[in-house]
């Protein structure tokens, strides 16, 4: 039994075979498991290649992903080190209690940790004017609070807003436009960066 060539099978899968070729191929496929298997693989491959363009994310979204990465700046002689805080708690990730129904968008609470320092952040979304309010507190492991520490809110690589912590390490940004921000806190130990403190509908 002569098997069907790959080229002939590709034409068949793509619907390019003539009626005569088509019936010959189909007659062969009924009795040949090897060719049937190759035909199925080709069908799956062609389908995957055709489908793939539907999975292309918007350019802006890919760029957002690329911009997420900010290389760690090496400590310059006499300069301060930079730390990236890791997210340890996020209410957005927590399920609501059984039976509870959500009314409006609840504030999102996040807790970041960098070494011995915790940073508590609460984001409240105001749907009416498409803005968010962000309040937080820098919590050291020792009893002394970080007072007067500069806090910056960056988006797209630019510092958009800045403030300073109060006597108990609290800071706030009121009614800033919705965007994806990086928050950084300058402390005597170094600069702590928190990735993405807000996303769209959170």
């Amino acid at each position: 039994m002569r098997h069907i060539t790959i080229e002939t099978l590709i034409d068949y899968v793509e619907g390019l075979s003539s009626d005569a070729e088509k019936s010959d191929i189909e007659a062969h496929l009924v009795s040949c498991l090897d060719c049937t298997e190759i035909k199925q693989e080709l069908q799956s491959l062609v389908l995957q290649l055709r489908q793939d363009t539907f999975f292309e994310p918007p350019v802006g979204l890919v760029q957002w992903g690329i911009n997420l990465f900010q290389p760690v700046v090496r400590r310059a002689p006499g300069g301060l080190p930079k730390f990236i805080a890791s997210l340890v708690f996020d209410t957005f990730e927590q399920p609501m209690f059984a039976g509870m129904r959500r009314v409006g968008t609840p504030p999102r609470q996040l807790l970041f940790r960098a070494g011995e320092i915790d940073i508590d952040v609460k984001i409240e979304s105001m749907e009416a004017n498409n803005r968010i309010s962000l309040v937080g507190q820098v919590l050291p492991s020792a009893t002394k609070f970080f007072e007067n520490a500069p806090v910056k809110l960056e988006s797209h690589g630019i510092v958009r807003y800045s403030t300073k912590t109060n006597v108990i390490g609290e800071f706030s940004f009121d009614e800033v436009p919705k965007d994806t921000y990086h928050l950084s806190v300058d402390l005597p130990e170094g600069e702590i960066t928190l990735f993405c403190v807000h996303r769209g509908n959170s």
Binding site: L45, Q48, L49, L61, W64, G65, R101, C196, G200
Partner: protein, 130 residues
């Protein structure tokens, strides 16, 4: 290389896996805004967990699993918001597949993408014409 602070390596990673990540919420038939949320959440998780990925060949599987979980999580949040009762939340978008089979499909498609990318100019153009 990303862990050594190479921004270009991170860009390569995002560009290489962008369709894998985005394909999952699209297969779940999410709206564009929700698909974008999933994409962003997964990029963040990748950045946060990059230091845990010891073998680069496992990124594809890790991303397929993480993105599927993120989609299931978002689906359950949506259901809670609307108050609907659905006991099929933990299912893959294609009813003929279980979650493990769904993950394999996602990974296979990524393997095809990577194979096409390795082709030289004319062969690649021919494949992309399909």
């Amino acid at each position: 290389m990303c862990l050594k602070g190479d921004a270009l390596a991170w860009e390569t990673l995002i560009v290489r896996y962008r369709r894998l990540i985005y394909s999952v919420p699209v297969r779940f038939a999410f709206e564009e805004a929700d698909a974008a949320d999933v994409f962003q959440a997964v990029c963040l998780k990748l950045l946060e967990h990059l230091h845990e990925v010891k073998d680069e060949r496992k990124i594809s599987g890790w991303l397929a699993t993480t993105t599927t979980r993120q989609c299931l999580h978002m689906k359950s949040l949506k259901h809670r918001e609307t108050g609907s009762d659905d006991n099929k939340l933990e299912e893959a978008p294609d009813p003929s597949l279980n979650l493990e089979e769904f993950r394999i499909v996602i990974e296979q498609q990524q393997a095809v993408r990577e194979a096409v990318e390795e082709l030289t100019g004319r062969c690649r153009t021919l494949i992309e014409m399909l």
